[in-house]
């Protein structure tokens, strides 16, 4: 089969573009759930009590040390082994691969972001926390009003990188019968034996979404950190820098 750009644009691309919302839904839903779950994970990881920090450590290591594909398969195929067949058939959520993918991606994000957030919490300047204490805030208030907002800001660049990685990772949902962009491309490829049109088409679609998302997140980062940006975009260079390279 030859590569046929006309077929790709007229037949394949519309179907792939129709699947983009599902890919974006998977990305944002699991990003939001995962990032929210990351907060207790990071807090537990930093807890002085080993009862909290050890499970958090084990969770983070499991999520980061195993392929996402296994985590997805474990959830998707494993649940069917736990519940009897009639439960699996009657529950609408349990029949659809989408919810398994959402669950797997969310806990995976919780593990990755939990570790990032841990570093960011530790990087919050001590003086700010002391200032909060001096204002008479209790520990909870200090955490929610000072430490967490500050830590989120610190790890924002790393978190946006994670989101882009997550967007790319949602393509493996296609392996548990979710018809997002990759799943749709695979279906057309298997049905029509058109290898080039479908895969290159999917590549173009992913490239556009990822590129657009990277740009949007960069813009957002710049906006949120406006107060701490250097005044000039091109800081004056030192004379010594301009010599021989």
């Amino acid at each position: 089969m030859k590569f046929d750009p006309y077929y790709m644009i007229t037949v394949v691309m519309p179907q792939l573009i129709a699947a983009v919302p599902l890919t974006l839904f998977l990305t944002f839903a699991s990003s939001i759930i995962g990032n929210l779950l990351a907060v207790p994970v990071a807090v537990a990881r930093l807890s002085p009590s080993p009862l909290l920090s050890l499970p958090a450590r084990a969770f983070i290591f499991t999520m980061r040390g195993t392929p996402l594909l296994i985590q997805l398969y474990f959830v998707y195929y494993g649940l069917g082994q736990v519940f009897p067949r009639w439960v699996m058939q009657d529950m609408p959520f349990l029949r659809d691969g989408l919810w398994y993918a959402l669950f797997a991606f969310s806990i995976n994000t919780a593990g990755y972001t939990g570790e990032i957030l841990r570093g960011a919490i530790m990087a919050v300047p001590h003086g700010e926390i002391e200032a909060g204490r001096a204002f008479g805030m209790n520990r909870r208030q200090v955490f929610f009003r000072i430490t967490l907002p500050r830590a989120v800001r610190i790890c924002l660049p790393a978190m946006s990188t994670e989101t882009v990685l997550l967007l790319k990772a949602t393509s493996i949902a296609s392996l548990v019968t979710v018809y997002e962009v990759m799943g749709t491309a695979t279906t057309i490829r298997v049905d029509t034996y058109r290898v080039y049109d479908t895969l290159i088409g999917a590549g173009i679609v992913y490239f556009v979404i990822v590129y657009g998302m990277t740009r949007t997140l960069n813009w957002l980062e710049r906006r949120l950190n406006k107060d701490r940006m250097p005044v000039s975009a091109n800081p004056p260079r030192l004379a010594s820098d301009q010599g021989i390279v």
């Binding site: 296994i70 493996i172 290898v195 021989i244």
Partner: protein
Amino acid sequence: MAADAHSLWASLAWGDSGYGDEFVKGIGTTLFISFSGYAIGASIGMLGAWAKLCHIKALNRTAEVYTTVVRSLPELLLIFLIFYAGTRALVSLLVMLGVAGQGFDINPFAAVITALGLIYGAYLTDVLRGGIQAVPKGQIEAAKAFGMHGSKRFVRIIFPQMIRYAIPGLGNQWLNITKDSAYVSVVAAVGEIMSVGRGAANTTHHPIFYFGATAGVFMALSGASMFLFSRLEKRANRGVRRV
């Protein structure tokens, strides 16, 4: 479930009655695929880093396009692209040129290793470029002042320091490539850990146990890699004063 827990553990036995030897062989295969892919990736990465930093505009741009495209596509899609479309294109090209016969086919092992190598080439390009850029300019100027030529300067000054700066990034990419080798199981069952685990789970209908075992193997692999790279990092930084 509790009743057959014993037989489940027994199924990890060595030999024909268990998956133990398959898993161990799988570790070897995963390491082989990852290492070969990593070696190809590192070679591409060195070339790419040089292309990004040299003074030839066309090369800068080519390397930039390569890393941008590869880094913004899902690994699974890239593996599909290279494994299905890439090999097919290559085969028809070879047949057209008369180099290969009609029935010629590309070894799936070679195809997946090439796929991983091309993907990781892009990631390693940026890791190595960062390492080169981290080398203090004054040292390069000093080397020039000593009359060292480009290649000598690279071998004696840039390369040893570049590696030191790049080790954390190199370690991360190594961890990623071992995990991404699991994607290989989707296109071809070449006997790496993920294919073994998947095959065992499908055959025995005990997905929790076998995917759990597979995850355990990967965790051991990741743990060992992390340990190794932290040792390497310590060793590479042994002459550096902590500030």
